[in-house]
Symmetry: C2
Subunit: 368 residues, 2 copies
């Protein structure tokens, strides 16, 4: 790894809006330079043509093409449930390693557990950064509280992959525009790839989900008045709900922002159809679950805003439709709602003001 | 490991009713022979004098004493939150390994990760069985359903260590007395030590809690009409709630039995006092959380009985107090209640009949 990495993103055959979540997050938010996306099926085009962000970043066919553009890191830019390295990626990874590139991997499967990739890394004297590798020692949750005066915010969701990390980062930026001191707590591989630190709470030993979250939140609260925690999964998700509840109870938020994908009607990846809960039901579910663990003396944690992801409406529908979606989400929940991407700073500021207003009401902060 | 192990249980300094949960479970239920308990602070006494079970099993001072009584396995018989091997245990483990005993370990920390213990195992050509080691490949939850006609039961609780495994095993025995075909699904180290198989869902990578539970339940349902799943933790536990929800959503129970320790008023191990929820609140919490994930076409999962652990009342209180506790639990929840240990088969049968009645009403089974 270098101090100023020049990163290529591997998304072979999968560089689309629905499959390249990590790539999109990094293209939108990383402060290091992205020099190329590797997807041979789209070589010669511009990243933004496929995922709406990354204008000016070329899509190239091979690792060698990426190196020719100065890349010294290859970041795996997609993440499927289950976290296996796609077999189609292995030749690209092998080539990168034998040419001495660092590989950044956010999947559950470890790069060097593949003997061929380990051999390639040895040939190229290359390093691998496993974004999901947890710290060696983690505490059990429930034994620390954040600094009094800090306000902890958790983004929660109707499903996985609805925009919790994006909403978190946009809220961080909005609060900073309002001269607040803010820390971002990354809890997943993309957030860690962007922030450069964090713990992937879905990759720790299950007994330590809450402890990992609590440690990050309490540490962050030492030096910031706002701690914005990237949420994971959904309490209603049949595979990942345990991670979500452990994170909720470990982070112990004062305030929550409920995130939802405007066109998502059933759980992503479940063909037999698991309908999503309505927004008012989800508000109640998250507030109930937060209260199960909240110790005496803490006021109940509240959902105070709705962050909508209307991104898939971008090109195919009239813009009014997205705005009416946002308005209706606000109407049914009686909470401020915004799409911080579609609406830009105005949307993110609306979410941030909802948080500041809630703190001002003393509705729920660690100070009380 | 041998086919007919002769087991000594290590509980040095900790062989008490409140600290030796694994020892108690194994003494009560294991079908292999327990030849001794190792706790030098209680050497020369009988196991039952300290934990109420294991009459006739001697407490000895050293591993050599246990070997003299025929032991070829040393099972670690205690489990503290966090799962570190106590330092006081290491000399005993070292001696056992260098004398060629197999060590069975249910803690998170792995025996052979201690270089001295690894060296001792090498000297003694000894094996270690890590009860919490998960399978290499686990699925993401939500993609399988149990065989139609099988009824899945999960024990759930007000806290960790309230008697969920005990209630599960007593229900298994009661249903078998009623000529039902029953499978027990072990989800924790003690259950695995007793049953000889299972997956410790608190030790898997967090994304796979539900998948591990679902796999075990669906496999078990192939050959049994009743699948009784050992619960873990509590939805209200600040450290372990993620494991509990993942297990609840992965197991996808038709029916639940709520377990509670009659003298537990606040979370075990949390000095600042986290009061437990009332039984009616807990019934609602578990039924709500089960419904979050339950797909369309499944009736809601119901708590249909209360299993109380009144064990700590055993010697110090009049027996009427325990029975009035059980009666009051039944009154406040309007559900059958029993202590399957204190009341023996009559208590366990009451729980089993509650399950059979609920299945008969078609209230919630996978057949509907």
């Amino acid at each position: 790894m270098t101090d100023t990495p020049r990163v290529a993103i591997l998304a072979e055959g999968l560089f689309t809006r629905t499959t390249a979540k990590t790539a999109i997050g990094v293209l939108r938010y990383a402060r290091y330079q992205i020099v190329a996306v590797v997807d041979s099926t789209k070589a010669g085009t511009d990243a933004a043509d496929h995922v709406g962000v990354g204008r000016g970043v070329p899509v190239v066919a091979t690792v060698d093409d990426a190196i020719a553009r100065g890349a010294d890191v290859l970041l795996i830019g997609t993440a499927a449930a289950g976290g296996r390295i796609p077999d189609t990626y292995r030749p690209f990874l092998s080539r990168a390693l034998e040419r001495g590139m660092a590989v950044w991997n956010g999947l559950h499967e470890r790069v060097l557990s593949d003997v061929r990739l380990a051999a390639a890394a040895k040939r190229g004297n290359a390093s691998v950064r496993e974004l999901r590798e947890p710290p060696k020692e983690l505490p059990v949750g429930g034994h620390r509280r954040p600094r009094v005066g800090a306000t902890v915010v958790l983004t929660v969701g109707s499903d996985a992959a609805v925009g919790k990390m994006t909403a978190s980062l946009e809220i961080v930026a909005a609060l900073r525009r309002m001269d607040e001191t803010v820390a971002f707590v990354a809890t997943g591989q993309t957030g860690i790839a962007i922030a450069g630190e964090g713990i992937a709470v879905d990759a720790v030993v299950a007994d330590f989900i809450a402890g990992a979250a609590e440690k990050m939140v309490c540490d962050a609260a030492e030096h910031a008045d706002w701690v914005i925690v990237e949420g994971q999964g959904s309490l209603t998700h049949p595979g990942f709900s345990g991670v979500t509840l452990g994170l909720l109870h470990g982070a112990g938020p004062d305030l929550m922002v409920l995130c939802h994908h405007a066109l998502r009607w059933s759980m992503k990846g479940y063909d037999d159809g698991l309908p999503l809960r309505t927004l008012p039901e989800l508000v109640r579910i998250y507030e109930d679950a937060a209260a199960w663990r909240r110790p005496p003396g803490y006021p109940p944690a509240r959902v105070v805003a709705i962050a909508l992801n209307t991104g898939d409406l971008l090109s195919s529908e009239p813009p009014d439709l997205a705005l009416s979606w946002i308005q209706s989400a606000s109407t049914v929940t009686k909470l401020p709602a915004a799409d911080p991407i579609r609406e830009g700073a105005a949307g993110a500021d609306r979410l941030a003001r909802a948080l500041i207003d809630a703190r001002g009401r003393g509705a729920a902060t660690s100070t009380s």
